[in-house]
């Protein structure tokens, strides 16, 4: 069977797609953990990362580069993406969330202010740069389609390796931060019980804004990877954001391992199910959402449940 023969190829594609979902989903989950809110503008943080890294990479890329040079450029892209996105996320928290928190606004008001911020950022970036949907990153320095690995007919290209490795390293780093540092402990404490954490001397405001910084950096990494792999534009965030949010919910929102798992699972499902002969790629999103609904109906708090967040 055709599909079965190509399954390993689809799996690799799903893994790359899923890694990026997971990176963005982690941002949703982190914020949900500390604020119990959907950060609707997170998709725009992701988009900003792509633009930010492009501005740097497009300056560095022209000319001949060896392997080391190319790696440096990729690293620079990852870093600038992370920095720009982290800054945008931090600003976002400062402008769209903090004032509302101080006023004790209803929960939906946060959602709407984030939506407002999202509209604003999409169009501001469109105005500042351009409104095309598929701007290409420089590619010549990278030779991104060069095969790195061939295993029984499955080819893994250079860009795929970069995406998976970068995502993996970033997630390991995140795990170290959350479980191994003082900041991580305060994030977990705030997620568990903010008032008590405050009594324990944790600065809630600072913890929240640093959580946004971390989530933003992850999205920025994803932004660069996505842009380098598929192109970027001011509207790239929305759909990617919706899927990543779905992935976060799938894994159990507020749960970091859940977000990683949800992202990978969603990516793989999207890559392997639609090419089935009796389904079709036009049903990709339907497949994704049906899987989501089915899982939620049987596990109302996602695959791994809400570990970081509070269960009601």
């Amino acid at each position: 069977m055709n599909w079965l023969q190509n399954l390993p190829d689809y799996l690799v594609l799903g893994l790359t797609r899923g890694s990026m979902y997971a990176l963005v989903a982690l941002g949703y989950t982190l914020v949900y953990g500390v604020l119990q809110l959907i950060n609707f503008a997170h998709s725009e943080v992701f988009m900003a990362g792509a633009f930010g890294s492009y501005l740097v990479v497009s300056q560095l890329a022209p000319g001949e580069h060896g392997f080391l040079g190319a790696s440096m450029i990729v690293l620079a892209g990852l870093l600038t993406g992370a920095i720009v996105s982290a800054l945008i996320a931090w600003t976002l928290e400062l402008v769209a969330y903090k004032p509302l928190r101080q006023r004790g606004a209803p929960k939906l008001a946060f959602l709407i202010s984030a939506i407002g911020m999202s509209f604003f950022l999409v169009q501001l970036f469109g105005k500042l740069f351009n409104r095309f949907s598929g701007n290409p990153f420089p590619e010549n320095y990278l030779d991104k389609n060069a095969p790195v690995l061939e295993l029984g007919g499955v080819t893994v290209t250079r860009i795929q390796v970069i995406i998976i490795v970068a995502a993996l390293l970033t997630m390991i780093l995140l795990d170290r931060i959350v479980n191994g540092t003082k900041l991580g402990r305060s994030i977990r404490a705030v997620a568990e019980d903010a008032p008590t954490a405050a009594l324990m001397g944790i600065n809630i405001d600072r913890t929240i804004s640093r959580t946004f910084l971390i989530g933003g950096a992850l999205a920025g990494v994803a932004g660069f990877l996505f842009g380098q792999a598929f192109g970027f534009g001011n509207t790239m965030g929305f759909d990617q954001g919706v899927k990543a949010f779905a992935a976060a919910v799938l894994g159990g929102i507020g749960n970091l391992r859940g977000a990683m798992m949800g992202g990978l699972l969603l990516g793989i499902v999207e890559a392997i199910v639609p090419p089935l002969p009796f389904i079709g790629i036009e049903w990709t999103d339907v497949v994704a959402f049906v899987v989501l609904v089915a899982i939620l109906v049987f596990r109302p708090t996602g695959l791994l449940g809400e570990k970081l967040g509070r269960a009601a």
């Binding site: 023969q5 190829d9 949907s133 290209t157």
Partner: protein
Amino acid sequence: MRNRSLAKVAAVSVAGALALAACSNSTPNNSGGLNSGSAGTGTQGAIKIAFQGPLSGENAQLGINEINATKLALDQWNKANADLQVQLVELDDVGDPAKAPAAAAKAIQDKEIVAVVGPSFSGPTKAVCKTYEEAGLVLVSPSATNPDLTKTLNCAAFHRVVPPDSLEGDLAGQWLAKKAKTVYLVDDLTDYGKGAVDAVEAAVKAGGATVVKREGVDKDKTKDYSVIAQAVKASGAEAVFYGGYDAQAALFAKALTAVNYPGLRMSGNGVLSTVFSTNSGADGDGWYISCGCLDATKADNAKEFTAAYKAMFNTDPSTYSPESYDVTNAVLEAIKAAKAKGTVDRKSVWDAVKALNYKGLTTTIKFAANGDVENQVINLYKQDGGKIGLVGDIKTS
């Protein structure tokens, strides 16, 4: 023009209003007072044409390609015809059928507008054509290619200078069937993409080739074309046809290269643009593109147009620019013809458009009863070295 005076503007219409009052007083007991109001309607202050198309939103680039050409044509016209100055009104319908009625209302309520260039897209056309018809405004579209518009819509106001998708798709399908035994069809789930692929599908089958599979990839939602590219490759099809627009086709082109797809790639007129060639770069080389249009940067009789366009907008003309240029010129000719016969109003321009016989850059504009041009040519293009070039008439290539 800062110190314009209102007086010029007002002279005509005020005369009408005052006459209305004065005369009616003097002729009691019959309706003569009412009729005398017609004194004010004999001449017109200005003649306007409207352009309706997407000037914002996802599809803005196509609209901008077209309106630029329209502006160029008008500019040239107004320089050459001091006695028949024509102004342009821009109507943005975002390419969305639901937003089109508002744009149409704006055109209809401005009584000085006598003809409309557009709408650019088929969906908005369907939504507003009847409204225009009722208002007596004639439409000439440079790019609405859905076959229904001239088949089932039954809207006398509508004309277009491009062949319908069915014709283009038909010939593209025949060409594909000659080149490949197995064809994989991908559309972008839009009105245009689906229509084009429908026609290709039928023609490919009729030509004796097999359609391996037909799939759709959402134009707005998808950036990652790797799965569909892998599916195309896995199917082993000898050729793939993509029905959709430029930016997405470029993404698809890259994905196909990434999976090392060995077969033939082809697409329709929506892809013929610099956006495709710049975005896809080397990955787009080898793509064949069919289009019922002329590449204005290449065709011989269009050098002047290309130069003037580049001079005015600092960029090469792109998809549908030459068509739009032709449409605008044809409409202006119709206005001129109407003026020669008497007054320029919606009715007279309508009649003049129906009677047009104008040789444009892309085709000879002479409308059949259903609103399509009588003479329809489909050309084949190919991208090489990052540039799209003309191959020739698709029937003979």
